[in-house]
C-alpha cells in the first residue's frame, strides 16, 4: 500500500535516541512571539506509535480488500481509511499542542466518516454522530486546556512546553484561573480531551456504538490507534501531568474505573463486536491508570502503559479482524447465532485463540508482559486499590474473552445454516491475521527491554525495581482461573435465549448510561434549553419587533380616526394644538 514508504521511513528513524525535530512548515502565528508551525516531533513514543499505526494500517488495508469486496463503494472507503491514517500520523508526530489538536480533530472527522460509512443504515449514522459529538465535547475542554497552558507558558511547542524549567515556572508562578491552579486546571482540561477520545467512563458511550462501522474500521480505529490517542496525549504531556498530582489522581481513578466497569459489562454482552469494544475500553482503562500511577521518579507505569499500548494494538486488531471474518461468514453480529465454527474457520480459530490467550495474559504471549508491568507499577507506586482492580480485571478479561471464544467456536451452530454453506475464509483476510499473530506472540519478548529502557521523556527517571515475585504469579493465576471458569460454563452450548434479569440486566444494559445520556440531551438540553430558547426567539424577541409594527398600525388607526373629515373637529384640533404650542413655547417656563 501507499504506506509502505512511510513504514520504511519510520523504521529507519526509530533507533534514534531522543528527539528528532525534522521538517517544519510555518503555519500561522498566534500573537507576536508565538509562531505556530506544523512539523514532526519524533521521540520514542511517537516512533512507537508510528510503527504500530503503519503496520496495522497496512495490514488492515490488505484485509479490507477482502472485506469490502462486495461493498458498493470501495472507492470511498480506501481514501477515507488513508485519510484516517494520515491524521493519526499527524497526531502522533505533532510538534505542538495546536498541531496535535488539529490532527486530533481530523481523526475525529475521519472516524465520523468511517463509522457512518454505511450511511443508509440509521444506526450507523446515529453512532457516527454520537461518536463525533461526545469526542467534540471533550475536545472543547482540550482546546480550553491548550489555550490556558499556552497562555501561561507562552508556548505551544512540546519542546518548550515540557522543559522542566517551563513546568517549574508554571508551578511556582501560582497563576490562577477563576480561582483554580492553572497547572492543575490546564492539565485536567487537556486530559479531558484524552478522556473523550480514549472513551473513559462516562464518556465511553460512543465506542460500543461505533462498532456500527465496517469491521476493518473498528479494528484500526476503535482498537489499535485512535482510541489510544488519549493515552498518547497523556503520555506526551506526562512531565507536566506528573507535576499536577490532582490530575494524575483523576487519570488513575478514571482508568481504573473504566477498566473494571467495561470488563464487567463485557461479560454479559452478546454482540461480537461490542464484546471486543468493551474489552478495548477495559484495556484502555489499564493503560490509563498505569499512567496515573507513574510519577517523575518512578516511571514504570509510564513505560508499562506504552508497552501495553504497543502489545494491545496487535492482538486487539487481530481479534477484530477475526471477528470481521466471522461476521462475514455468518452474516450476524450476535454470538447467540454462532457456535461450533472451529471446523468451518480453521485459520480464524487458531489466530483467535492466540489473541485471546494474549489478551487474557497467559504467560509467554505479549499481553502477559505488558499487563504484568502495569500491575507491578501499581503495586510499587503504592496504589494498592488500583492494583487490586487491575488484578480483578485480569480475571474478568480472561473470563469474558473465553466466553467469547467458546460461544463462537465451540458447541453447536445456532444460527442460520444457510449462510454457512457459502462461507469461506478469504485469502486477503486471512493473510493479515496470520501476520498479526507474530507480534501478538512475540512483541512482548522482543520489545520489553527497549520499552523499559529508553522510552522515557526527558527529566523522568525510571527509578528502582524490586517487584515482588508473587505479582506475576498472581496475574497468571487470575487469568487461568478466568479461562477455566469460562470454559467450564460455556463448554456446551448454553441457553442464551433467556432474558437477563436483576443485576445482570443492569449490566447487560450497560448500567443504563446511554439512556441517561439520551435523557440529558433530548429531555434536558433539547426540550428544556433549546426549545424554550426557540420559543423566546419566536415570541418574545421577534414578538417585540413585531409588536412595534402592530403598535404603529394601531396608532395609525387613531390618526385616521381623528381625520374624520368634519371641519369643526379640524378647527378644534387646530386650536388645541395652538394652545399646546403656546404652553410649550416657553412662555410660561
Amino acid at each position: 500500500m501507499v504506506l509502505a514508504i512511510g513504514l520504511a521511513y519510520v523504521y529507519s528513524s526509530s533507533p534514534e535516541t531522543i528527539i528528532t525535530d525534522t521538517w517544519r512548515f510555518d503555519w500561522v502565528n498566534l500573537g507576536k512571539s508565538i509562531n505556530l508551525s506544523l512539523g514532526f516531533y519524533l521521540d520514542p513514543i511517537s516512533v512507537m506509535m508510528l510503527c504500530v499505526i503503519t503496520i496495522i494500517s497496512t495490514l488492515v488495508h490488505i484485509y479490507s480488500v477482502g472485506y469490502m469486496h462486495d461493498d458498493e463503494s470501495p472507492g470511498r472507503f480506501f481514501p477515507l481509511l488513508s485519510f484516517f491514517v494520515f491524521s493519526m500520523i499527524g497526531l502522533v508526530a505533532a510538534t505542538n499542542l495546536v498541531q496535535m489538536f488539529i490532527f486530533w480533530e481530523l481523526v475525529g472527522v475521519s472516524s465520523y466518516l468511517l463509522i457512518g460509512f454505511w450511511y443508509h443504515k440509521p444506526s450507523a449514522v446515529a453512532a457516527s454522530k454520537k461518536a463525533f459529538i461526545i469526542t467534540r465535547f471533550a475536545d472543547a475542554f482540550f482546546l480550553f486546556g491548550i489555550i490556558l497552558l499556552g497562555l501561561h507558558c507562552g508556548a505551544y511547542e512540546f519542546a518548550d512546553l515540557l522543559l522542566p524549567e517551563t513546568i517549574k515556572t508554571l508551578k511556582e508562578s501560582e497563576a490562577t484561573f477563576a480561582g483554580y491552579d492553572v497547572l492543575a486546571l490546564g492539565t485536567l482540561c487537556v486530559f479531558i480531551g484524552g478522556w473523550g477520545k480514549s472513551a473513559m467512563i462516562p464518556l465511553h458511550v460512543w465506542l460500543p456504538d461505533a462498532m456500527e462501522g465496517p469491521t476493518p474500521v473498528s479494528s484500526i480505529i476503535h482498537s489499535a490507534t485512535m482510541v489510544v490517542a488519549g493515552i498518547f496525549l497523556t503520555a506526551r504531556m506526562f512531565p507536566m501531568f506528573a507535576e499536577a498530582p490532582s490530575t494524575m489522581y483523576v487519570v488513575e481513578i478514571t482508568g481504573a474505573a473504566t477498566a473494571l466497569f467495561a470488563a464487567v459489562i463485557a461479560c454479559t454482552q452478546m454482540d461480537i463486536k461490542r464484546i471486543l469494544a468493551f474489552s478495548t475500553l477495559s484495556q484502555l482503562g489499564y493503560m490509563m491508570f498505569s499512567l496515573g500511577v507513574a510519577n517523575m521518579d518512578h516511571s514504570l507505569g509510564y513505560s508499562a502503559s506504552m508497552f501495553h499500548v504497543f502489545t494491545h494494538a496487535f492482538f486487539k486488531c487481530l481479534l477484530f479482524l477475526s471477528a470481521g471474518l466471522i461476521i462475514h461468514m455468518v452474516h450476524s453480529n450476535d454470538i447467540g447465532h454462532m457456535g461450533g465454527l472451529r471446523k468451518k474457520a480453521k485459520w480464524t480459530y487458531w489466530v483467535t485463540l492466540i489473541a485471546c490467550l494474549a489478551i487474557a495474559g497467559v504467560p509467554g504471549l505479549s499481553g502477559f508482559f505488558s499487563k504484568d508491568e502495569i500491575l507491578i507499577a501499581a503495586w510499587e507506586g503504592g496504589h494498592h486499590c488500583s492494583f487490586i482492580i487491575g488484578a480483578g480485571v485480569g480475571f474478568l478479561t480472561a473470563f469474558y474473552m473465553f466466553r467469547y471464544f467458546m460461544l463462537i467456536f465451540h458447541g453447536e451452530f445456532r444460527g442460520d445454516a444457510h449462510h454457512l454453506e457459502h462461507a469461506h475464509e478469504s485469502k486477503w483476510m486471512v493473510l493479515p491475521m496470520v501476520v498479526l499473530t507474530v507480534p501478538s506472540i512475540f512483541a512482548g519478548y522482543l520489545m520489553k527491554g527497549q520499552f523499559l529502557g529508553y522510552v522515557l521523556p526527558p527529566g523522568v527517571s525510571a527509578g528502582e525495581h524490586d517487584a515482588p515475585g508473587w505479582i506475576p504469579m498472581m496475574a497468571i493465576a487470575a487469568s487461568i482461573l478466568g479461562i477455566g471458569l469460562a470454559v467450564l460454563m460455556y463448554r456446551k452450548s448454553p441457553d442464551l435465549a433467556a432474558e437477563p434479569k436483576g443485576l445482570r440486566k443492569l449490566i447487560y444494559n450497560k448500567f443504563y448510561i446511554d439512556e441517561l445520556y439520551l435523557f440529558v440531551t433530548h429531555k434536558i438540553i433539547f426540550k428544556c434549553v433549546a426549545a424554550p430558547m426557540k420559543w423566546i426567539d419566536d415570541y418574545v424577541v421577534d414578538g417585540a419587533m413585531n409588536v412595534q409594527e402592530r403598535l404603529s398600525q394601531s396608532l395609525a388607526s387613531v390618526v385616521r380616526a381623528i381625520q374624520s373629515g368634519l371641519a369643526h373637529i379640524y378647527v378644534g384640533v387646530f386650536l388645541i394644538g395652538f394652545i399646546v404650542l403656546i404652553i410649550f413655547g416657553g412662555l410660561f417656563f
Binding site: D26, G31, F103, L106, I133, R136, A140, L143
Partner: protein
C-alpha cells in the same frame, strides 16, 4: 491604481446601467454580461491584492493613522466637509476579495433565474456596487452612503425573487437594517459635531478622527453605543437578529449567500472600522454590554439552530452564532482575537455562502427545505451531498477549514485580553464569555451533525427523479469550498495581511484604554 480601486464599485454600477439597455428577452447576454463584470471585478481585486502584498504601504508618522494604499481623496460636498475618500488596507482588501468571490458565485447560482431575469442581475450588480463602495470608503459619510445603497437592491431582490413570506420578510429585514442605520445616523451626528475639536473643521474622515483622538469623550460615551449598535443590527447580534432568519428564509439563494456572507460582515466591518477605531474611549466604556450580547448570540443562535427544521433557518441561526463570535472577538480588545474575528468574518462569509448555495441547489431538487422530509440524498446526489458534508465540517470548525483557524485565533486571543491590570489576569467577564463560546463548539457540532445526518444520510425517503448538480452549480460550490480549504490550510498570508492593518486600530484602541 487608485482608479482601479474605484473601478471595483464603478464597474458593477456600470454593468447595472448597461444591463438596462439589454433587451429583457436576451437572457444569455444578460447573464454573460453580469458574469464577465463579476470576473473582471474579481480580477481587479486580485491584482490589487497582489500589488498590495508585494508592496505594502509604509507606516506613517502617526501610529494610529491607517496608511491607505491606492488612495483617492477628493472633496465632494465641500460645505459639509464630505470627501470622496477611498483606499484600502489589508483588512478591507480581504473583505473585498471575499465579497467579490461570493458575488461571482452568487451570479453563478442564479444562472437559472428565468422570471424577470434582467431585473435580478441589475439589482445584484447594484448590490455589489454598494458593497464594494462600502469597503473602500474611509469617509464615514460615503461609507454610510454606500451602506444604505445596498438596502434598496436587497429589498427588491428579496421582495421580487424570494419565496414564502417574501414581502413581509423583505420589509422586516429592511426596516430593521434601516433602524440600525437610524442609530448610525445618531452616532454619526455626534461624531460630526464632535470631530470639530481636533480636526480643523468638522468632517467625517475616519482616519483623521482616529489618529488624533479628536472626538470628545463625553460624545463618545453615547455616540459609540449608538453607532456600534447600529452596525450590530447589521451583523444580527442578539436581540436584533430577527431580520436575518426571516430574510434568509425568504431570499433567493444568491441573496441569502450575499446577505449572510457579505452583508452581515459589513456590520462587523463597521463595528471595528468606524466604531472602535474612531471612538476607543467609548468602546472601552461600553464594551462589556456588547460582549455579553455577543456571547448570548453565540450560544443562543447555536441552541436555536438545534430546534429548527428548515435548512435556511438552521443556517441563519448558525450565522447568528458565528457572527456573534466576530463581535465577541472585537469586544475582547485583544489584538489576536480581533485578528481572529476578522478571519472569522472572511471564513464565515465563504462557509455560509457555500451552505446557502447548497441549500439552494438541494431545494431546487427536493422542493422542500424541511430536514425531516429529506434523507439519503448521498445516494441520489453524491456531489451535492459530499459538498454538504464538507461544508458541514467547515461550519463545525474542523481543522483544514478556514473556520478552524479563525475560531482558534479568537479563542486563544480572547484569553489574552489586556484585562483590567493589563497583565496575566484577564477580565473575568471576558473569560466567562470565552469559556461559553468555546463550549458552543459542541452545540455547533450537534446541530450540524443532526442536519447532515438527516439530509444526506439514512435511507432514501422517496424516489426522486432528479440528477446531481450541473456544471455551473458545481463550479460555484467548488470555488467556495476551495476558498474555505485554501484559507484553512494556508492561513498564514491572510493573517499577515490582517496584522498589517490592525496596527493602527490597536494603537487607537490602546490609547482609549489609557
Amino acid at each position: 491604481m487608485a482608479f482601479l480601486l474605484n473601478c471595483t464599485w464603478i464597474l458593477p454600477a456600470l454593468v447595472a446601467v448597461l444591463l438596462m439597455f439589454v433587451p429583457k428577452d436576451n437572457k444569455p447576454a444578460i447573464r454573460m454580461l453580469s458574469l464577465i463584470g463579476a470576473i473582471v471585478n474579481l480580477g481587479i481585486i486580485a491584482v490589487l491584492t497582489i500589488v498590495f502584498v508585494n508592496d505594502p504601504p509604509a507606516l506613517g508618522d502617526n501610529p494610529a493613522a491607517t496608511v491607505l494604499a491606492f488612495e483617492t481623496k477628493a472633496m465632494w460636498f465641500d460645505k459639509l466637509n464630505i470627501y470622496f475618500h477611498t483606499g484600502v488596507d489589508g483588512f478591507s482588501l480581504l473583505m473585498m476579495l471575499m465579497a467579490s468571490i461570493i458575488g461571482l458565485c452568487g451570479i453563478l447560482v442564479s444562472w437559472n433565474i428565468e422570471d424577470r431575469c434582467k431585473e435580478f442581475f441589475i439589482l445584484l450588480a447594484a448590490l455589489l456596487s454598494g458593497t464594494f463602495g462600502c469597503f473602500i470608503s474611509f469617509d464615514l459619510f460615503t461609507f454610510f452612503l454606500f451602506n444604505e445603497l445596498t438596502l434598496i437592491p436587497t429589498y427588491m431582490l428579496i421582495g421580487i425573487f424570494g419565496s414564502g413570506k417574501k414581502e413581509w420578510a423583505a420589509m422586516k429585514l429592511n426596516l430593521m437594517l434601516f433602524g440600525g442605520s437610524a442609530l448610525i445616523i445618531l452616532g454619526m451626528a455626534g461624531m460630526y459635531i464632535g470631530s470639530a475639536d481636533a480636526m480643523k473643521d468638522r468632517g467625517f474622515d475616519l482616519i483623521a478622527m482616529a489618529a488624533n483622538g479628536s472626538i470628545p469623550v463625553e460624545i463618545q460615551m453615547w455616540a459609540f453605543p449608538a453607532l456600534f449598535l447600529g452596525f450590530a443590527v447589521l451583523s444580527s447580534v442578539f436581540p436584533f437578529h430577527t431580520w436575518s432568519p426571516a430574510g434568509h428564509a425568504a431570499a433567493p439563494t444568491a441573496i441569502s449567500m450575499f446577505l449572510a456572507g457579505v452583508h452581515m460582515k459589513l456590520g462587523g466591518y463597521g463595528c471595528l472600522r468606524v466604531g472602535m477605531y474612531t471612538m476607543p474611549e467609548g468602546a472601552h466604556a461600553c464594551m462589556d454590554i456588547f460582549l455579553v450580547f455577543a456571547t448570548i448570540s453565540v450560544v443562543y443562535g447555536a441552541f436555536i439552530a438545534i430546534r429548527h427544521r428548515d435548512l435556511k433557518f438552521i443556517n441563519a441561526y448558525s450565522s447568528i452564532s458565528h457572527v456573534g463570535l466576530v463581535v465577541f472577538g472585537f469586544a475582547t480588545f485583544s489584538a489576536l482575537a480581533i485578528r481572529g474575528a476578522i478571519m472569522q468574518m472572511v471564513s464565515h462569509g465563504f462557509v455560509t455562502a457555500v451552505v446557502f448555495a447548497l441549500i439552494g441547489s438541494i431545494y431546487g431538487r427536493t422542493h422542500t427545505r424541511n430536514v425531516d422530509e429529506m434523507g439519503g440524498l448521498m445516494k441520489q446526489i453524491p456531489f451535492l451531498s459530499v459538498a454538504f458534508v464538507l461544508a458541514g465540517f467547515a461550519v463545525v470548525g474542523m481543522p483544514g477549514t478556514s473556520s478552524f483557524v479563525a475560531e482558534l485565533t479568537i479563542f486563544v486571543g480572547s484569553f489574552q485580553n489586556p484585562g483590567a491590570d493589563g497583565g496575566m489576569n484577564p477580565d473575568p467577564l471576558v473569560l466567562t464569555c470565552a469559556v461559553l463560546c468555546v463550549l458552543t463548539i459542541v452545540t455547533t457540532a450537534v446541530y450540524v451533525l443532526r442536519t447532515v445526518n438527516r439530509v444526506v444520510n439514512g435511507p432514501l425517503t422517496k424516489d426522486y427523479d432528479f440528477g446531481d448538480a450541473n456544471k455551473i452549480e458545481k463550479s460555484a460550490i467548488i470555488i467556495l469550498l476551495f476558498c474555505i480549504f485554501a484559507m484553512g490550510i494556508f492561513p498564514g498570508w491572510i493573517a499577515n495581511l490582517v496584522d498589517g492593518s490592525l496596527g493602527p486600530i490597536m494603537e487607537s484602541l490602546n490609547r482609549g484604554a489609557r
